[in-house]
C-alpha cells in the first residue's frame, strides 16, 4: 500500500495552513478596517477574537470528523452532531459577552456583519473563478 512520504504530507499540511492563515490575515485586516478600532480596543480585541476563532475552528473540525464516512452511523453520531452544534452556539454566546465588555454593541454587530461579508466575498470569488475551470477540466 502506497503511503505518502511524511515530509511531503507535512509540506502539504503546512501549505494549506499557510493559505488559510493568509486568508485569516485578510479577514483580520478587513474587520479592523470596518470596525475602525482605537489602539486600546485593538489591543484588547484581537487576542480575544483569535481565541474565539480557534475555539470555533476546533469544534468545526470535530464536527467534520464526526460527519466523515469513517464514523459509524447511529444515535451516538447524531447526538454528537447536536452537541457540537450547541457548542458552537455556546462559544458564540460566551465570546459575544467578552466582546461586549471591551467594545460598544454596534461595533460587535459590525464585526459579525463583516465576517459574513468576508465569507460572502470568498464564495463569490470561488464562483467567479470556477467558470473558466469548468470549461477546462
Amino acid at each position: 500500500m502506497f503511503r505518502r512520504p511524511p515530509n511531503l504530507q507535512q509540506r502539504v499540511i503546512t501549505r494549506q495552513q499557510n493559505g488559510v492563515s493568509k486568508i485569516e490575515g485578510v479577514r483580520e485586516r478587513y474587520i479592523s478596517q470596518r470596525l475602525s478600532l482605537t489602539t486600546d480596543e485593538s489591543q484588547k480585541f484581537w487576542p480575544i477574537y483569535r481565541r474565539y476563532q480557534d475555539a470555533l475552528k476546533e469544534i468545526r473540525r470535530k464536527k467534520r470528523l464526526n460527519n466523515s464516512n469513517a464514523q459509524a452511523n447511529g444515535t451516538e453520531q447524531i447526538q454528537r452532531e447536536l452537541y457540537y452544534e450547541s457548542e458552537l452556539v455556546n462559544i458564540r454566546r460566551y465570546y459575544t459577552d467578552e466582546f461586549l465588555k471591551i467594545l460598544p454593541p454596534d461595533k460587535v454587530s459590525e464585526m459579525f456583519k463583516s465576517e459574513r461579508e468576508f465569507t460572502d466575498e470568498l464564495i463569490k470569488q470561488l464562483s467567479e473563478r470556477s467558470e473558466p475551470v469548468k470549461n477546462n477540466p
Binding site: 494549506q16 493559505g19 488559510v20 493568509k22 486568508i23 485569516e24 485578510v26 485586516r29 478587513y30 478596517q33 470596518r34 470555533l56 475552528k57 468545526r60 473540525r61 464536527k63 467534520r64 460527519n67 458552537l88 459574513r116 461579508e117 468576508f118 465569507t119 460572502d120 466575498e121 470568498l122 464564495i123 463569490k124 470569488q125 470561488l126 464562483s127 467567479e128 473563478r129 470556477s130 467558470e131 475551470v133 469548468k134 477540466p137
Partner: protein, 252 residues
C-alpha cells in the same frame, strides 16, 4: 256754662249726629313728627333747587370755590402734564418756534436750488440753426476738403446670444452639468462599499482556489456547503450562490 249747654243742646236737635262715633278718626302715622323737620327742610331745599334752575336766581358758587381754585387748576395742569409725558413723550425742542419761520424759508431755498439743475442744460445760442451745417462740415464737406479721415477697422461682430450655436452650447453645458452631478453623486454613495469590495477583491484574488476551499471547509461548517465544495470538482456558479446563501443564512 250757657254756652256749654247750648253747645250740647244742638246735638239733641240732630239725632243722626249722636250716632256718629265721637272718637277722632284721624290718626298720625307713626314717627311722623320725628321726621317732619327733616322732610320739611329737604322739601324747602328741593323747592330752592327748582327755583334755582332759572338763570336769574341760580348759579351759586360753591363754598370756598375761589379760594381753592388756583391750587386746583395748578394740580390739574401738573397731572395732565405728567399724563401727556408718559403717553406720548413728545416735546417741543427748545427755541423751536423761534427759528421755525427761518428754517422753513431756508428749506424752500434749498429745494429751489436742488431743482435748478434742470435749468442748467441750456442749448447754446443758435445751436440748431447751425446744426445741419456743422454736421455736413464734419462729414460730407470734410471728405470733399480732403481731410484725412480716420476709419477705424471694424471687426465682425457676431451676436452670440441670438445665434443658434449659443442655444446648443447652453443645452450641452446643462446636460454635462446634470450628467456630472448624477455620476458623482452615485459614485460618492458607493465609495465605501466599492472600496471595501475592491480591498477584499484585491486581497483575495491572489489566493488560490484550494486555499479558499480549505478556509471555507474550516469556517463554514454546514454539511451541504462542504459537500458542494468537495464534490464540485467545479462549482456550479448558477446554483452555488443561492445554495450557499441559504445555507449560511440558516447556519450562522
Amino acid at each position: 256754662m250757657n254756652s256749654d249747654r247750648g253747645n250740647r243742646e244742638w246735638l239733641n236737635d240732630y239725632m243722626s249726629l249722636k250716632q256718629v262715633n265721637p272718637n277722632n278718626p284721624f290718626t298720625v302715622p307713626e314717627g311722623y313728627f320725628d321726621e317732619l323737620e327733616q322732610q320739611t327742610v329737604s322739601f324747602i331745599k328741593l323747592n330752592e333747587l327748582k327755583n334755582g334752575a332759572s338763570p336769574e336766581q341760580g348759579f351759586t358758587v360753591p363754598e370756598n370755590y375761589f379760594e381753592e381754585l388756583r391750587s386746583n387748576i395748578n394740580a390739574r395742569i401738573s397731572i395732565e402734564d405728567a399724563l401727556n409725558k408718559e403717553a406720548t413723550g413728545l416735546t417741543v425742542p427748545e427755541g423751536y418756534f423761534d427759528n421755525l419761520s427761518q428754517q422753513i424759508q431756508s428749506r424752500i431755498i434749498v429745494g429751489e436750488s436742488l431743482t435748478e439743475p434742470s435749468e442748467v442744460f441750456a442749448v447754446p445760442q443758435d445751436y440748431f440753426s447751425h446744426l445741419t451745417e456743422n454736421i455736413l462740415n464734419k462729414t460730407a464737406n470734410g471728405q470733399k476738403t480732403g481731410k484725412p479721415e480716420i476709419v477705424k477697422p471694424r471687426g465682425i461682430v457676431r451676436q452670440l446670444f441670438s445665434s443658434s450655436a449659443f442655444k446648443y452650447a447652453t443645452a450641452a453645458c446643462l446636460t454635462l452639468a446634470v450628467g456630472a452631478t448624477i455620476f458623482l453623486s452615485q459614485n460618492s454613495n458607493n465609495v465605501v462599499q466599492s472600496h471595501d469590495n475592491s480591498f477584499l477583491h484585491k486581497s483575495l484574488s491572489a489566493i488560490p482556489v484550494d486555499d479558499i476551499q480549505n478556509y471555507l471547509q474550516l469556517n463554514v461548517d454546514p454539511t451541504d456547503t462542504r459537500t458542494l465544495i468537495d464534490e464540485s470538482k467545479q462549482v456550479n456558479a448558477d446554483n452555488l450562490n443561492t445554495d450557499l446563501q441559504d445555507e449560511l443564512d440558516t447556519s450562522q
